[in-house]
Symmetry: C2
Subunit: 225 residues, 2 copies
């Protein structure tokens, strides 16, 4: 019985890991769809959302059954409760990838992005995918040091977001209002994606230690090139 | 013992209700700060976020203790798990109010909104506050019919959001890029606030019935003036 229970707990973690992978892959494709005005890829991200939705429902259900039948305590209870919370975060990461894909689709065959900001979004996409990968890794390994370092990657995303807003706001933006609105919303979607990855890191720390660190307690970004 | 347990469950619901009230009040004040470029009010919304944060931590902790010590099943278990999920939604509603207040503060003493769109935001603020109130009510009463009808109010918010984007995108927008970006983000903050209220309604239905309805299964907005 204990073995089945431990298996169930491990399954829960693996399901969350698989969800992270799907969310990261969705953001990777959405970014490519955005940068290349690729309609087929955008449609794929949008239709794949159901797959992540099914995973969410299944994972939530599994957590619920564990609570009902096994009444876990201490660290196991923290794992199951955290799993329920992380499902919401990962689900949202997938939804944000879909938002990106929908903007790419809406503007197709035109590129949603003026070429001037392609570099920002290429980098935001790269950081987002990296964050998804790190979130998956810390989920599966329970590595709390690496979980805490997710904040540094999020800080890099925030920097990109801020710089992009300076481009929109302070310089002479030549691409019109519609394009500025798209860029602002897109930038926000990437920034939120990163925030959810940080949340996953915080929850992994909570699972291991019983303490949920404040964002400010995590190590910030150090100097980068 | 059972009585203490029932009291704890009821306390949990009351705490969520109190959180909804705080989030609604925050959005009410944030809207006023936005429409009237009221810096004092904006600052108040921003500093009050800690109060909601403390409530969140306390409510999550109470739910955790209930799970650990009482190992609830069936409907009670659904209530506790839903409480944990709703804490995240209500917390986010408060964060969105803070985002609105921060834009009001950043633009002060200038009004963040061109007068042309004041009416939209006044109405979005009204609907948001109403949604916060309805969410609180269905939480406390468990009225699942009313919970389902939250979607109709959310549809009204989506309409406002869409119309506002038409104003930004299709007509000749005369207020510049910075202002358009502010308006787009603000509109999104209100729309997301409403989405979280719908989530609370869905969770209340889940608590009562064990079935989590899809958004599309909820009754849509009927014809309005």
């Amino acid at each position: 019985m204990r073995t089945a229970y431990q298996d169930q707990l491990e399954d829960l973690t693996n399901q969350l890991g698989a969800m992270c992978e799907l969310a990261g892959a969705a953001m990777e494709r959405a970014t490519q769809a955005l940068l290349q005005a690729d309609l087929v890829l955008a449609e794929q991200v949008i239709s794949d959302q159901d797959v992540l939705g099914e995973h969410s429902a299944r994972t939530e259900e599994a957590a619920f059954v564990l609570l009902a039948l096994q009444a876990p305590v201490a660290r196991d209870l923290r794992s199951v409760v955290s799993a329920i919370q992380m499902v919401a975060d990962i689900d949202r990461m997938g939804a944000l990838a879909v938002h990106v894909a929908k903007i790419a689709r809406r503007r197709h065959p035109v590129h949603a992005l003026p070429e001037e900001v392609n570099g920002y979004f290429s980098e935001m996409g790269r950081v987002a995918v990296e964050l998804g990968r790190t979130a998956q890794e810390v989920l599966l390994t329970g590595d709390i040091d690496k979980a805490a370092r997710i904040r540094a990657e999020d800080d890099a995303m925030d920097d990109l977001h801020r710089h992009l807003f300076n481009v929109l706001m302070d310089r002479e933006w030549k691409h019109g209002v519609a394009s500025a609105v798209d860029v602002a919303l897109l930038s926000r979607f990437y920034e939120r994606f990163a925030d959810h990855a940080v949340e996953i890191g915080r929850r992994v720390i909570f699972m291991a230690t019983g303490e949920l660190p404040e964002y400010e307690e995590l190590p910030p970004e150090t100097w980068r090139d």
